[in-house]
């Protein structure tokens, strides 16, 4: 395996050619998928027109692109990247390919608080709009995501953390959250409930810049921070004693990385709803593409973005003109993948 060292002011990373190739290939594919996505709509365009109209402010379609189609495509890509990064961190820390923010209660927790927000505020303000939707929803989702993670983590903690106990407790807590969500939806006004329903299936429909910006900010801040943490993340792969011997402050770095993962997943969920299985599958796909020992962070994010953009394209074209929520497509594709992982683990070849 060819690899080089990248050194910036005393910090160094190992850069692998294979990783670089996957990253750049993924970016090209992502741009292509986004362009294909942006063709679709009341005003059909060719891929060429999409590119020219994006950069030509005088073109009549420029407004459509900038205000409607680009935000949607960007939301999809960024949400996918954030979820995948979150999944890669959690899988590295849990040392378990089955772990993901969904199972840790982050996405389900965020779903509950957002639906609660929609139902409660709907009665007062007549719908979610303005400041509440751009600031309130991400904040609510963060709160719910953190709460969910704390509950699952706390309940699973019993003289240490067992990977499987964590997963099973997560399944139980997710059931409580899901049913609270059903209950909230029966309590609320019908129109608010319909709005919440679209959101909880994981949809990119009608996403604007207010959905892009929180995820973009979160990624801009957290990607560099998590890359700085790569070294301790690599060390966390070993047993707790080895990690301590390697000089990594284990509990601190583990807590910080988990916090970053929860923030990423919660912000992504606030923007697009719970898009299922992206966080689970992307790190594993990236790991196999790059053939590294554990989920590579950057490549996972790229794979996540490509997967979500591809799933959205499928969701919009498979039953056109009817459009499915992207979360439905990722679940249909992702669940068999989880099953495949399970059978691999049973055979002892993780």
């Amino acid at each position: 395996m060819t690899s080089y060292a990248l050194r910036i002011a005393g910090l160094s990373w190992q850069v692998r050619l294979r990783g670089l190739a996957v990253t750049f290939g993924g970016l090209v594919l992502l741009v292509l998928l986004m362009a294909l996505n942006m063709r679709i709509g009341d005003l059909p365009m060719t891929v060429g027109e999409v590119f020219t109209d994006t950069f030509d402010a005088s073109s009549p379609a420029h407004f459509v692109i900038m205000e409607l189609r680009l935000p949607r495509a960007l939301t999809g890509a960024l949400v996918g990247a954030a979820l995948a990064l979150s999944g890669a961190i959690i899988q590295s820390i849990a040392r378990n390919p089955l772990a993901s923010p969904e199972i840790l209660g982050v996405t389900t927790g965020a779903s509950v608080t957002v639906v609660a927000g929609v139902v409660v505020s709907g009665g007062v303000h007549g719908g979610v709009s303005g400041l509440l939707s751009s600031v309130g929803m991400p904040a609510l989702a963060l709160l719910g995501g953190l709460l969910g993670a704390v509950i699952v983590y706390g309940l699973a903690w019993r003289r240490g953390l067992d990977g499987y106990r964590l997963v099973l407790v997560g399944i139980g807590v997710a059931a409580v959250f899901t049913n609270v969500k059903y209950w909230l939806m029966t309590v609320g006004d019908v129109n608010d409930t319909a709005q919440a329903m679209v959101w909880i299936s994981g949809s990119l429909h009608g996403r604007g810049w207010e959905h892009v910006i929180p995820v973009a900010l979160a990624l801009a801040v957290l990607i560099p921070l998590t890359l700085l943490g790569t070294r301790s993340l690599n060390a966390l792969r070993f047993s707790d004693d080895t990690v301590t011997a390697l000089g990594v402050r284990m509990n601190l770095s583990r807590a910080l990385m988990i916090l970053a993962a929860v923030l990423l997943a919660a912000v992504a969920t606030a923007s697009a709803g719970p898009v299922a299985f992206v966080a689970l599958a992307s790190p594993q796909i990236a790991l196999r593409l790059i053939r590294s020992a554990q989920p590579p962070l950057l490549s996972s994010a790229i794979v996540g973005a490509v997967l979500t953009a591809g799933a959205d394209l499928l969701a919009r074209t498979a039953f056109s003109p009817i459009e499915l929520p992207v979360g439905v497509v990722t679940a249909v594709l992702g669940a068999p993948y989880l099953i495949y992982l399970l059978t691999r683990i049973r055979k002892g070849r993780t």
Binding site: L98, L168, V176, Y182, W183, I339, L342, R346, K347
Partner: protein, 343 residues
């Protein structure tokens, strides 16, 4: 369970009979509560009047047309799901087995929605048949997945995860179909939260034969299941036809779950909790465990329904939601208490 084995046999029999009487008392209490409590509370004397000599007063109509069918359906579904849970846990030797957790419920939902969209099914009887078919395919599928590559069957964790994956897959397919078809959406909505309210008397008569057949198979299965719990090799040496015992078990679980969920919608966790409660008093002998599970299941479902009626006035909380809110903490406690071992 350790305590149970230490008890001497005559004592055990005495204890089992005492508990049987006690639980029957609890079920009767649950029935009385279910008939009298609701949006309009009906005094006991009026309820008795409605049951014995109805004259068409307001409370007579409420009780005979709403509360009575609701209670009867609750009893039926509770017995069915409790027994199905006990059978599933016995056959998989897995303390976390539950028709809802293992994807059987979602299988029934998927088949029912598909039948509405592609075949235009509208009658309840049609739903039941498709629900049964879906439940069968999903339960066989989950078992097969859990078995892959393992010696002696799936571990509790693999099975629970396989169930979650199958559920997620079927749920996604179902919601895709539902989003494409409004009529199916309407059926699915009622289905998702799980309720025994306003189902009407004819529903009860239609699911009754399926549940009765399922219960009969379950009772026939009890002694074979006892032998199987000693391990397949021992059971074979004892002269058990293992394939037949398994097939009868799967058929029974399918009939019970399929009929219950076709009539009431998705009711998860009741099949998980009930056998654990029943095992506390009955021990591991399935000839006792199955009837106990039925009794406790019926009482629990009715009590859950009554709680749902009073907890969120002026509306009601669906019994499926109540059961999940009660059952999931139980599940978490079960997972926390010890490493999930095979039964």
């Amino acid at each position: 369970m350790v305590a149970t084995t230490a008890v001497k046999l005559p004592q055990l029999r005495h204890r089992r009979l005492t508990w049987l009487i006690g639980l029957t008392g609890v079920l009767v209490l649950a029935i009385v509560l279910s008939i009298t409590i609701g949006a309009k509370a009906v005094p006991l004397t009026d309820a008795w009047h409605a049951l014995t000599s109805p004259t068409g007063t307001e409370s007579d109509i409420i009780i005979r047309s709403l509360r009575l069918p609701r209670t009867a359906l609750g009893i039926l579904a509770g017995i069915a799901l409790g027994v199905a849970g006990a059978l599933m846990q016995g056959h998989t030797r897995n303390p976390l087995a539950d028709p809802g957790l293992l994807g059987v419920t979602q299988g029934a939902a998927f088949a029912m929605v598909a039948s509405i969209i592609f075949l235009g099914t509208t009658s309840l009887l049609g739903f039941i048949w498709f629900g049964l078919a879906g439940a069968l395919v999903a339960s066989v599928g989950v078992f097969a997945l859990g078995m892959v590559g393992g010696r002696g069957g799936p571990t509790p964790v693999t099975l629970a995860l396989a169930g979650t994956a199958v559920s997620a897959f079927l749920y996604a397919l179902t919601s895709a179909m539902v989003l494409l078809d409004e009529q199916a959406m309407d059926v699915f909505r009622f289905w998702q939260s799980g309720s025994i309210a306003a189902r009407g008397t004819e529903v009860i008569w239609q699911v009754l034969p399926f549940i009765a057949a399922g219960l009969l198979l379950a009772l026939l299965n009890a002694s074979g299941l006892n032998a199987l719990s000693l391990g397949e090799d021992v059971a074979r040496n004892l002269g058990q036809n293992i394939a037949l015992t398994r097939a009868v078990g799967v058929a029974s679980v399918t009939l019970l779950t399929g009929a219950a969920v076709a009539a009431c919608g998705s009711l998860s966790f009741i099949g998980l909790i009930v056998p654990h409660l029943a095992r506390r008093v009955s021990g591991t002998d399935h000839r006792w465990l199955l009837p106990y599970s039925g009794l406790i299941g019926a009482a629990l479902l009715l009590l859950g329904d009554v709680i749902g009626r009073v907890v969120a006035p002026p509306g009601e909380l669906e019994v499926g939601v109540v059961l999940a809110l009660l059952g999931a903490p139980f599940f978490v406690a079960l997972v926390r208490r010890r490493k999930p071992v095979r039964l």
